[in-house]
């Protein structure tokens, strides 16, 4: 909701101008060491990273460490509040909410991560091509981005899901689609900047082929802005996907997707508020972790704004 593409675009533009040149010259391994050293100083970012690592582990093994079968009904134990037996309480089927959150981590993170990865890849390629070749390609890519940018992101996602129908795959597509233009724009402007830099001009004059030039010379020069935007997008992707599920346009309500769990809980707000508090808290912590991590990355990569 809040991480609009525009915001990130503007923020990234500011540091690209500074970075690209020194990036080219600097020695790789010492840079990495220095980067890690700098990053580790940012405690909140490290905390964010730690949470992300834990989440990834849970995404992999979550369903095996869940204390209960996340899909098992217990009709004698419906809507029970948190207790020693059920840490996060049970839902309207008597299912253990804690187990469902663990088991749903893979689904929730998977949808957001994969949609951002695919969207970023598409956007990057389109942005590179648009920036490098200009002309018709640039026009097409940029005008399509304009169309997509003409809708606030959740509205765009709702419209897409309305067309494709609800379901997790369609949420993936919707989030992916609104990820593409932001990457396309950033990559285009980064590419334009790198393209005019001295070493690309040299490579070009030496008769370097377009493909090689694009991916060996230009792409690495844009990678920092890519990484930062990528991390920041994940937070908003999780938010968008869970908002869609919350509105009933997302995951199947039987799936333990966090937004869908929260959406179901609305009906029980009066009788079982733990169903609202806890899955929401998990979404919040996850988004926060990615945002803190992304902030840390950006600050580390960009000494200007500190």
């Amino acid at each position: 909701m809040s991480n609009t593409p525009k915001e990130q675009e503007k923020s990234n533009l500011s540091f690209e101008e500074n970075y690209i040149d020194e990036n080219i010259i600097a020695d790789k391994s010492s840079r990495t060491k220095e980067f890690i050293k700098k990053f580790m100083k940012r405690k909140t970012a490290v905390a964010g990273l730690a949470v992300i690592v834990i989440l990834v582990i849970i995404a992999i093994i979550g369903e095996y460490i869940a204390p209960y079968d996340p899909a098992a009904y217990d009709y004698d134990n419906m809507l029970a509040g948190p207790s020693a037996a059920h840490w996060f309480g049970t839902d309207h089927y008597g299912r253990d909410i804690f187990s469902r959150i663990l088991a749903g981590t893979r689904l929730t993170l998977g949808v957001s991560l994969s949609s951002v990865i695919v969207g970023a890849a598409l956007g990057t390629v389109l942005g590179l091509l648009a920036g490098y070749y200009g002309g018709v390609i640039e026009m097409l890519v940029m005008r399509s981005s304009d169309v997509l940018f003409s809708f606030p992101d959740i509205l765009l996602a709702i419209a897409i899901v309305a067309i494709l129908g609800p379901g997790i795959i369609n949420v993936f597509i919707a989030v992916m689609v609104f990820t593409v233009p932001s990457f396309a724009r950033i990559m285009r402007s980064s590419t334009l900047a790198v393209k005019s830099s001295l070493y690309v001009e040299v490579a070009q004059s030496l008769g370097c082929k377009d493909g090689r030039l694009l991916f060996v010379h230009i792409f690495p020069g844009t990678i920092q802005s890519l990484i930062v935007n990528f991390t920041m997008r994940i937070g908003s992707a999780i938010m968008a996907a869970s908002s869609l599920s919350f509105l009933g346009f997302g995951a199947n309500v039987t799936d333990p997707e966090w937004g869908a769990m929260l959406s179901q809980s609305r009906s029980y707000l009066n009788v079982a508020p733990h169903m609202v508090y806890l899955p929401g808290l998990v979404i919040f912590i996850t988004v926060l972790a990615f945002n803190l991590f992304g902030d840390g990355l950006r600050d580390t990569l960009d000494p200007k704004i500190k």
Binding site: V253, T254, S267, L269, V271
Partner: protein, 524 residues
């Protein structure tokens, strides 16, 4: 001609027996002395009316609102008896073809026009002129409508039809001058004879009605009646607790326990007309070519595997009735059948007999709302006990409407978790569209594709009968056949739960707990 009372009384007796057994609101221990803060009534509804023209297709909430503005010649009271409203009395010819109504005199519409026999003719003519109106459902069986006198009108049928009286309770009378101005006018103005007049409406927000000062009989005492749309269950309840709303419809079953001890809140609990079932596509083929639901034993096994008592408890917190026939007990000519008592062993042996002891995979279509999903999940869990592996296909109801209207050759519907209720409380309307052999989609909703000649004939014959004993007999037989053949899994009949502040007065009901606002008031 003889007075209709004799015929009707028998009919009334038949089904009022079931209806009067209904539990209603409990008021003991409630604070009946509580005072309302103002004389404006607010009703919080879950969804908005789709259209306020009473003849345009619309949802149940539209009826809730329009019923306070428009009236019919006859209506149902809470004991499921047909009683006069705009008509003083009525009679039927011996051949059962002509119904003559004597109308009340001196009634005016909201727009000042006078109500008389010509008004009834005008509504009929509107129906003839525009096929898209819901009036079609009523007047398609009519031959003519004639004004015999200023206050006498006769409706002639093409052939005898036992649902006529039920359907006439849905035939809303609107001022001719207003109808001439069309749907747009009626979307923004009321032109009925009812106790409330439309004042203001924000689509999706609220509909505000004010008291009709010229109402022709004892009317409401509140100054205004506002229907506010509050889709969130939690918010609706909070509004009732804080007094922002005086009545909420519906009250989610889950929340009854939470508010039932509140001395200022009274809960209405009545078995509704909403009957829930799962259709079993009798033509469905498994990948190996076998048709499990074509075998009655499989269909019965599914019913024996299903515990409807647990269903009522789990899905509706106990506020539901176990099924004892193929439609709600509040509908005319209800005839109780022997329940399928849950019996897993019997279900398993029936499955084995039919050659399906290893079960099979099947999908079920369901609307993606919380309560529907919960019900379908329960069905899935129950059928897993006999190795029937159910996959839920949840869609918005609009998308499901398209899937379920596909004809037999194209259908993808294997099972459909759905419900049905006849708004005019008629037996024919409760069975024909969903079980008659001629009502396969797209002309009906018989997605079981069940075609039983005997059942079809019984329905067709009963429709033309005039003797209520014979009608009752035919419908009882039809119910027995469908119950025994079970083209559905019979799930149950959830209750209509409404809640209101103890200072609300003058509530009356239609059958199945539908609130009527005619004499509504607030204790000030």
């Amino acid at each position: 001609m003889k007075k209709i009372t004799a015929i009707l009384l028998t009919g009334i007796m038949m089904f009022s027996l079931a209806a009067t057994a209904n539990a209603s609101s409990k008021t003991d221990g409630k604070d009946m002395e509580a005072k309302a803060p103002d004389n404006d009534m607010v009703v919080a509804l879950q969804a908005d009316a789709t259209h306020l023209d009473p003849h345009v297709s619309s949802n149940g909430y539209s009826n809730t609102i329009t019923n306070s503005m428009y009236e019919t010649l006859l209506t149902f009271n809470e004991n499921s008896e047909v009683v006069p409203l705009l008509a003083k009395d009525w009679s039927v010819s011996d051949d059962g073809l002509s119904y003559t109504f004597n109308l009340n005199e001196g009634i005016t519409f909201h727009d000042g026009e006078a109500f008389n026999a010509e008004s009834v003719v005008a509504v009929y003519e509107r129906g003839l002129a525009d096929e898209s109106l819901t009036l079609q459902r009523t007047i398609s069986a009519w031959e003519s409508v004639t004004a015999d006198d200023e206050y006498v009108v006769t409706i002639k049928l093409k052939e005898p039809n036992n649902t006529f009286i039920n359907k006439i309770t849905q035939f809303r009378i609107v001022s001719k001058a207003a109808m001439d101005q069309g749907k747009d006018y009626l979307a923004k103005n009321s032109a009925g004879t009812g106790p409330f007049i439309l004042e203001d409406r924000v689509d999706g927000g609220y509909t505000k009605l004010v008291r009709n000062e010229n109402y022709w009989q004892d009317g409401p005492t509140v100054d205004s009646l506002t229907f506010q749309v509050v889709p969130e269950d939690g918010a609706r309840i909070a509004m009732l607790q804080t007094g922002e709303a005086d009545i909420i419809m519906p009250l989610p079953a889950m929340d009854v326990e939470r508010i039932q001890d509140d001395p200022t809140i009274i809960i209405d609990n009545n078995p509704s007309i909403t009957y829930r079932y799962v259709t079993l596509n009798t033509e469905m083929e498994l990948p190996d070519g076998r048709k499990p639901f074509a075998d009655k034993r499989v269909r019965q096994a599914l019913n024996y595997a299903f515990d409807s008592e647990a269903y009522a408890k789990v899905v509706f917190s106990g506020y539901a009735v176990e099924p004892t026939s193929i439609y709600s007990q509040n509908i005319m000519y209800f005839s109780p059948q022997t329940p399928y008592k849950p019996d897993i062993e019997k279900a398993k042996s029936l499955m084995a007999e039919a050659g399906f002891e290893d079960g099979f995979d099947v999908s079920i279509i369901v609307d993606n709302t919380s309560i529907e999903m919960k019900g379908a999940e329960f069905v899935k869990q129950q059928l897993a006990q006999i190795n029937v592996n159910v996959e839920l296909l949840a869609n918005e109801s609009t998308a499901n409407a398209e899937l379920t209207s596909a004809p037999l050759e194209e259908t993808t519907v294997q099972m459909w978790y759905v419900n049905w209720g006849s708004g005019s409380y008629e037996a024919d309307g409760s069975m024909r569209s969903i079980l008659h052999g001629e009502k396969f989609p797209p002309s009906g909703y018989n997605t079981a594709f069940w075609n039983n000649e005997e059942f079809n004939t019984l329905l067709d014959d009963a429709l033309k009968m005039t003797d209520t004993d014979e009608i009752a007999d035919a419908y009882a037989k039809a119910q027995a056949i469908a119950w025994e053949e079970c083209p559905w899994i019979f799930l149950g009949n959830d209750n209509a739960l409404n809640a209101y502040k103890s200072y609300v007065t003058g509530i009356s009901y239609k059958p199945a707990g539908e609130i009527v606002f005619t004499t509504i008031g607030l204790n000030l």
